[in-house]
């Protein structure tokens, strides 16, 4: 259960999803020792909340994908413990929001489902992560553009897609992650949404998201298969992706189901190294 947390909700007073976000925040504080941070007041007088956000895990509740609450958290450089987006929750639960500015019947049902989900969270996946002992001590080639250094790992078992994600393939398993190009462009990564363990992902399908104050990046899976493990360290320390996106900052492990076909749309070190150099030059002129 969410207890003893700081809750930063959306303040969308002119939108139904905003009203629902407020309702979830209020309910979370009714029966537990959570504290609401008013986003409007936080912006103008942050001193009031500095102690709360400094001492408690932060739950961010966005109404919609404009992600005003997330952006505020990023602006204040806050590490987010958990995120909820009301419109996404509505979609997942097959609920149509009422559209009103005070929560209607369907909105109240959604609020209850979100709260129940938070209570039951540890049992959510029902599957235990099966992390393989994959040693990722790569050799790298590097290049520099301005103050930014880009390292690209080389080796016969390392593959890349043109969406700047890598796969390190051992037998019928692959460990996947993002490249330096992604982490340098995003700058400080503040939040990681892992793929679900047990999920079947197609090549180029979504394998989680990472988010910085600048942007959200959808991790584009280089391979097809089943997610067998995620790097749980990233949920507490997403900055590991900035520190080393190939070793401590890996994202997930996939049991491969169609690698012979996947390979057709993957490239090796030589091609990716040239591609990423070109992309960096194009972006920075």
């Amino acid at each position: 259960m969410i207890d003893n947390c700081a809750i930063l909700p959306c303040n969308g007073l002119d939108k139904c999803a905003g009203a629902v976000s407020r309702e979830v925040a209020v309910k979370l504080c009714e029966n537990n020792a959570n504290e609401i941070i008013c986003p409007v007041f936080y912006r103008v007088a942050e001193a009031k909340y500095n102690k709360i956000v400094g001492e408690h895990p932060l739950i961010v509740i966005d109404g919609c994908q404009t992600r005003c609450a997330s952006k505020l958290a990023a602006e204040k450089n806050l590490r987010v413990f958990k995120k909820i987006t009301i419109t996404e929750e509505a979609k997942n639960h097959n609920i149509v929001l009422s559209g009103g500015l005070t929560p209607g019947e369907s909105d109240k049902v959604l609020v209850d489902l979100i709260l129940k989900g938070l209570v039951n969270e540890p049992e959510n996946s029902g599957l235990i992560s099966d992390v393989q002992d994959i040693s990722c001590n790569f050799d790298y080639n590097t290049f520099q553009n301005g103050k930014f250094i880009f390292r690209i790992p080389r080796g016969a078992q390392i593959y890349f897609n043109e969406n700047d994600c890598w796969a390190y393939v051992i037998g019928n398993r692959a460990r996947i992650g993002v490249t330096d190009f992604v982490q340098q462009n995003l700058s400080d990564i503040l939040y990681f949404t892992p793929p679900e363990i047990g999920a079947e992902i197609d090549q180029f399908g979504e394998a989680g998201e990472i988010e910085s104050s600048k942007s959200v990046f959808e991790i584009v899976s280089p391979v097809t298969g089943k997610v067998t493990a995620v790097n749980s360290m990233l949920e507490q320390k997403p900055e590991l992706i900035n520190e080393n996106p190939y070793e401590t900052g890996w994202v997930a492990e996939i049991e491969l189901t169609d690698f012979e076909n996947d390979k057709e749309l993957l490239i090796g070190f030589d091609k990716y190294f040239e591609l990423v150099k070109r992309k960096v030059e194009e972006l920075n002129g």
Binding site: C64, Q65, R67, E162, N163, G205, E209, E218, L265, L283
Partner: protein
């Protein structure tokens, strides 16, 4: 700015671009602010203030702008369909 090819296929042969549902779009322009590839164009003088001006600048399989869209007005083609299309074009070109 844009890649001229993706996986060896000419970018303009690949159908991958955002589509704006104007019945939902509220012209907040978050997508424009977000996209570094100048896919969108704003014209405040027109009735339709936002258009997909440079679809081939859009990075194939990137859907990030849709994730910034509050009213959920941006959609993309199905990834699987696009993947199969790319494979088919590559096969065809290899056979030529």
């Amino acid at each position: 700015m844009s890649e001229s090819t993706f996986m060896g296929v000419q970018r303009d042969k690949i159908d991958w671009k955002p589509t704006i549902d104007y019945s939902k779009c509220d012209y907040c322009m978050e997508c424009v602010k977000f996209c570094p590839h100048k896919v969108f164009e704003v014209n405040e003088e027109e009735e339709i203030k936002l258009i997909v001006k440079n679809p081939n600048n859009c990075v194939v399989f990137c859907r990030a702008c849709s994730k910034t869209c509050g009213p959920n007005a941006i959609t993309f083609p199905d990834k699987n369909t696009t993947t199969q299309m790319i494979k088919a074009i590559r096969k065809e070109e290899n056979n030529d």
